[in-house]
């Protein structure tokens, strides 16, 4: 998998910098060892701990206090130093315990358009009988933390966002959770690779040209005006997803059944969104335009079909059709 999903731009100069390169290598190797799972319960093995900068500063302070106590022979100074050291040690255990035992569950992320942020909803669950304070979650390397307290034997939900760079089906980025509670002298963290994938549609073209109605089949266009009243050929049984304005309400009143006007017949056209008829040459931009058209056609509640290289989706309308088309656009090669 490429690193593009972590939101960190690939820069050429990274590769010239040997230490950065080594760090990157190490991170890739480290992450590749982690199992892919959407639910994880943090244990001793998956939780790491290191002192923070302030932690080292506290160490230096303790050393200073100790030297002062020795030099001035202050027994009370010894007591202060050792009590502080003891408390910091306990703080280390408390810090580790704050993250250890938390269960993380990732809800399946909904599809997004390329260029917009995908939201990941993570549930943090605690079995412990006391609150776990100050747990943060972030996309690894992003630096944007979301914080929460996990209530005693309860759940809290955090949302983190990331921006997929390209269309397609991507694994969600590696996540990291950390805490510095209670003293900030230690950082306890975990690295988590969820298995979930997020579907990324192409970016809809901004101010795309209008739908290619003109290029519809059976191009008599306005001839259909004649067939408006009582043309019962153009009626079929209601299908889920049919727009309400297509429903023949009179028929419902009479026969107690839902009947829709067959829009193709009603309009006398078949709307095909064809990759070859976008008028663009760049394949990605073609897909972008098609995406915009799909959304537009859906908004107008038209029946539409999608024709891509090697794939035809027959005309239909409704949410399911939209999803099918967008998915096809997302996964088109």
């Amino acid at each position: 998998m490429s690193n593009a999903t972590t939101g960190e731009p690939d820069r050429g100069r990274f590769w010239r910098h040997p230490i950065r390169r080594l760090q990157r290598r190490f991170r890739q190797w480290f992450e590749s060892r982690l199992p892919l799972t959407d639910s994880v319960t943090l244990t001793q093995r998956s939780v790491y701990i290191l002192p923070t900068g302030p932690g080292l500063m506290l160490g230096a302070t303790l050393l200073l206090l100790l030297v002062a106590s020795i030099n001035y022979q202050l027994n009370l100074g010894y007591m202060l130093t050792f009590l502080l050291a003891g408390t910091a040690m306990v703080g280390m255990l408390v810090c580790h315990g704050t993250l250890r035992g938390v269960s993380l569950h990732l809800a399946l992320p909904s599809p997004v358009f390329a260029g917009t942020s995908a939201l990941m909803e993570v549930q943090l669950q605690s079995q412990r009988r006391s609150t776990r304070h100050g747990i943060g979650l972030a996309v690894m390397g992003s630096g944007h933390w979301a914080w929460c307290n996990v209530p005693a034997q309860g759940v809290c939900t955090l949302q983190v966002a990331f921006q997929p760079a390209r269309r397609g089906l991507h694994r969600v980025p590696t996540l990291t959770a950390e805490t510095r509670y209670p003293l900030g002298t230690f950082r306890v963290w975990t690295v988590w690779r969820p298995a979930a994938q997020v579907l990324v549609y192409p970016t809809p073209e901004v101010s795309a040209p209008p739908l290619p109605l003109a290029s519809a089949h059976a191009g008599d266009g306005p001839a259909t005006q004649s067939s408006v009243a009582g043309d019962f050929d153009g009626v079929r049984a209601y299908r889920r997803g049919d727009p309400l304005k297509m429903v023949v309400w009179k028929k419902l009143a009479k026969a107690d059944e839902l009947v829709s006007r067959d829009s193709v017949h009603a309009l006398g056209v078949e709307l095909w969104l064809d990759q070859r008829e976008t008028g663009l040459s760049h394949p990605e931009r073609q897909l972008s335009r098609l995406c915009a058209w799909v959304l537009q056609a859906d908004r107008l509640a038209l029946d539409y079909g999608l024709r891509l290289a090697g794939l035809d989706i027959p005309p239909a309308s409704g949410e399911a059709q939209k999803k099918r088309c967008l998915q096809a656009l997302a996964l088109n090669r």
């Binding site: 639910s39 244990t43 001793q44 900068g53 302030p54 500063m57 506290l58 302070t61 200073l64 206090l65 030297v67 002062a68 106590s69 020795i70 030099n71 001035y72 022979q73 202050l74 027994n75 009370l76 100074g77 010894y78 007591m79 202060l80 130093t81 050792f82 009590l83 502080l84 050291a85 003891g86 408390t87 910091a88 040690m89 306990v90 703080g91 408390v94 269960s103 569950h105 079995q127 304070h133 100050g134 943060g136 914080w147 929460c148 307290n149 510095r180 509670y181 209670p182 003293l183 900030g184």
Partner: protein, 682 residues
């Protein structure tokens, strides 16, 4: 300007401060608490500056105003460094260092921008807490600093709760729990961490400002001590204790008089001619243990008279020819030693020796009337055997009957202090009496000297220790009498027998405030309270402040080490750490296995199913597991009903309310037993 979050209606007067302001105000309060005990030791400008910085910062926090610019702060910092240099003439050393750190801390609060700044404030505060102990390590200081530590930890914990506005009390509880768990670690380190000698010698400024006996006696010295109620030493007698009137703790012996002050003898004689101690104890000795407060003087206070070296670790102890026990270096920390003394003793030569003339010197041109009077008395007494003893009696009688008064406020004495005492004022404190007495005796040609120390003490009924306070500082005289050697004569006892007999003390007149405060309080209750307080203080001294390397090594000896040294301490410390780590590891292991039994059993079942190829989602409750099971095995599977039944029973045990009388764990035990017999799919 009215702040939008200030929702003050008439029935909710409490102001809802934003979290930032509240946390900052709390921290400022804690810092003020840490700084407050220092105020007495800081230059005035420093206290004023730190105080105003804190108040200004509090004002900014209250009104959520922006902080001052960095340039402004830098300017103030340069100014204060200059002021420190001006106050202390240096930037190094203890007092200058403390002044600087106080200023830095106060200024840093005006620069609280990032979390890093907050940490700097915390660590400076921890350091300042320690500097408090330079001046006092009393129980009271310890208590105040414990409160300060709790406050700092509370603020620290609070800083690390990024969500919402956590109540301070909750953070305080967390901090308290952590500190409580830290106490065993502290105790272990405190007991076992080797007590090293100072790394670069006791700094000379370490003891300034401590009162006590002095190496010279100027009239007025001891009187100033008389109002100092702090404890000088504590004594515990093993077995019998001497008469109260024999409780003379011997300090510096002063034999040189220059007309104004008494100092230790600087004999011009070669050593072999000087008078030896020549101490002979009589009767049964008393055994006791002394806890001596640091005095920064090399004196060991012991009861008169102690022939054997007091047992004291870490110091070289020797006795002067004048019977005073001294150490090789000033006593900078609390020490404890045991000694054996003879209340009945004789010392010094029994017949006149050459060296005794050192104790006859008087400066010329002082106290002419006393000299004249001495000559008269001498002539009256004649030269016979026992004349000296008779003269001493005569003078003591004169003191008793001559209208002399023992008082704390005898007024200022001029150049001829003995003349004034004997003939004009007839008022004096023990030092006037001892000094005038010795001058008179010497003028009569009898060797005499002034001895200073403490006389008396008070037994604390709570813990049985005798408490000797600075106010018990005393001066008396020793007269050499042929055939008896040196003999103690206490002129004060002649004027005021109560001073040495029942230890009545002069008390300053209680002013209106004192009467108002104490007049209504039951004095017995107050005295009891004070006894308890002293006892607590004493145990504090015995167990905490006096915990020295000697005590550490003794502890190791009790643990079975033969002739332990500080390396053994390290070994024991390492062993303790290893044992503690092992304990922690074991606890972790136990903790891992000791999980919710209900969940554990469900997990075992899920794992068992997964092994047989049934896809059970993690974290599924039992009912969901059962559904998944039926779905994947098919309802016709022979084992499915039994498994489902088992899982549903598991669920019932977890969620069903416990039936009265039935043990809740019973069902779980049955389930566990039947686990193996279940028809698991293969």
């Amino acid at each position: 300007m009215k702040r939008p979050n200030m929702q003050s209606t008439w029935f909710t007067p409490s102001i809802q401060l934003p979290r930032d302001s509240r946390d900052t105000l709390f921290m400022l309060f804690v810092i003020a608490w840490v700084l407050a005990p220092q105020v007495g030791h800081l230059p005035l400008w420093c206290s004023v500056m730190a105080g105003s910085a804190l108040i200004y910062r509090a004002y900014l926090a209250w009104h959520t105003r922006p902080l001052p610019s960095r340039w402004w702060l830098r300017g103030v910092l340069v100014l204060t460094v200059a002021a420190t240099l001006w106050s202390h003439k240096t930037l190094l050393g203890r007092d200058a260092g403390v002044t600087l750190v106080v200023v830095l801390l106060a200024l840093k609060t005006l620069e609280l921008r990032a979390r890093r700044d907050a940490f700097v404030v915390f660590f400076l505060s921890f350091f300042l807490m320690l500097t408090n102990f330079f001046y006092s390590q009393s129980l009271l200081t310890a208590g105040a600093m414990l409160v300060a530590l709790m406050g700092l930890l509370t603020a620290l914990v609070n800083t690390h709760k990024p969500v919402g506005k956590p109540p301070l009390l909750e953070s305080a509880r967390t901090a308290g729990m952590m500190a409580l768990w830290g106490v065993p670690i502290m105790a272990l380190l405190f007991v076992l961490f080797p007590r090293m000698a100072p790394l670069w010698g006791i700094p000379s400024d370490g003891m300034s400002g401590r009162s006590g006996l002095s190496s010279s006696m100027q009239v007025g010295n001891i009187a100033s001590l008389a109002l100092d109620d702090s404890i000088a030493l504590l004594v515990r007698f093993n077995g019998e204790m001497p008469d109260q009137s024999d409780l003379y703790f011997r300090g510096p012996v002063l034999s040189d008089f220059d007309g104004k002050s008494w100092t230790a003898l600087q004999s011009s004689l070669p050593e072999r001619l000087q008078v030896a101690a020549d101490l002979r104890g009589q009767g049964t000795p008393v055994n006791y243990q002394v806890t001596l407060k640091p005095s920064n003087h090399p004196w060991l206070l012991v009861l008169d008279a102690t022939p054997e070296k007091p047992l004291l670790n870490g110091y070289q102890v020797s006795m002067t020819p004048e019977l005073q026990w001294v150490t090789d270096r000033p006593i900078g920390d609390l020490v404890r030693y045991t000694a054996q003394s003879f209340p009945k003793f004789t010392h010094g030569p029994l017949t006149y020796k050459a060296g005794l003339q050192d104790y006859l010197n008087l400066p010329t041109g002082f106290n002419p009337r006393t000299a004249q009077w001495a000559k008269e008395l001498r002539t009256q007494a004649g030269d016979g055997e026992g004349a000296s003893a008779q003269l001493v009696d005569t003078i003591m009688n004169h003191l008793r009957t001559g209208g002399y008064t023992y008082t704390l406020e005898p007024g200022l004495y001029g150049r001829h202090s003995a003349d004034e005492f004997w003939f004009d004022r007839k008022l004096g404190f023990c030092e006037h009496m001892a000094s005038s007495f010795v001058i008179l005796i010497r003028a009569m040609g009898i060797p005499a000297r002034v001895v200073t120390g403490y006389q008396g003490g008070k037994r604390n009924a709570v813990d049985g220790y005798w408490v000797v306070r600075q106010s018990e500082a005393h001066a008396w005289a020793e007269v050499w009498i042929s055939g008896q050697g040196w003999t103690r004569v206490d002129p004060t006892s002649a004027v005021s027998p109560g001073r040495t007999g029942t230890f009545e003390r002069l008390q300053r007149e209680q002013g209106a405030i004192g009467t108002a405060l104490l007049g209504t309080v039951n004095t017995e209750f107050a005295l009891n309270l004070r006894a308890y307080w002293d006892a607590a203080n004493n145990s504090w001294n015995q167990w905490v402040l006096n915990y020295t390397q000697g005590q550490q090594l003794k502890l190791l000896e009790n643990l079975g080490f033969e002739s332990p040294n500080w390396e053994d301490l390290i070994y024991v410390l390492i062993a303790a750490v290893v044992v503690a780590s092992l304990g922690a590891a074991l606890w972790g292991l136990w903790d891992r296995h000791h999980r919710d039994p209900w969940l554990h059993l469900l997990e075992r079942a899920s794992a068992r199913l997964r092994r047989s190829g049934i896809d059970v989602a993690p974290n599924s409750p039992p009912r969901r597991v059962a559904e998944q099971l039926i779905q994947q095995l098919g309802p016709d599977h022979p084992g499915a009903p039994a498994l489902k039944d088992w899982l549903l029973r598991l669920e019932a045990i977890r969620y069903a309310p416990p039936v009265a009388g039935a043990k809740p764990s019973n069902g779980l035990a049955t389930l566990r037993r039947t686990f193996k017999q279940l028809p698991w799919p293969t």
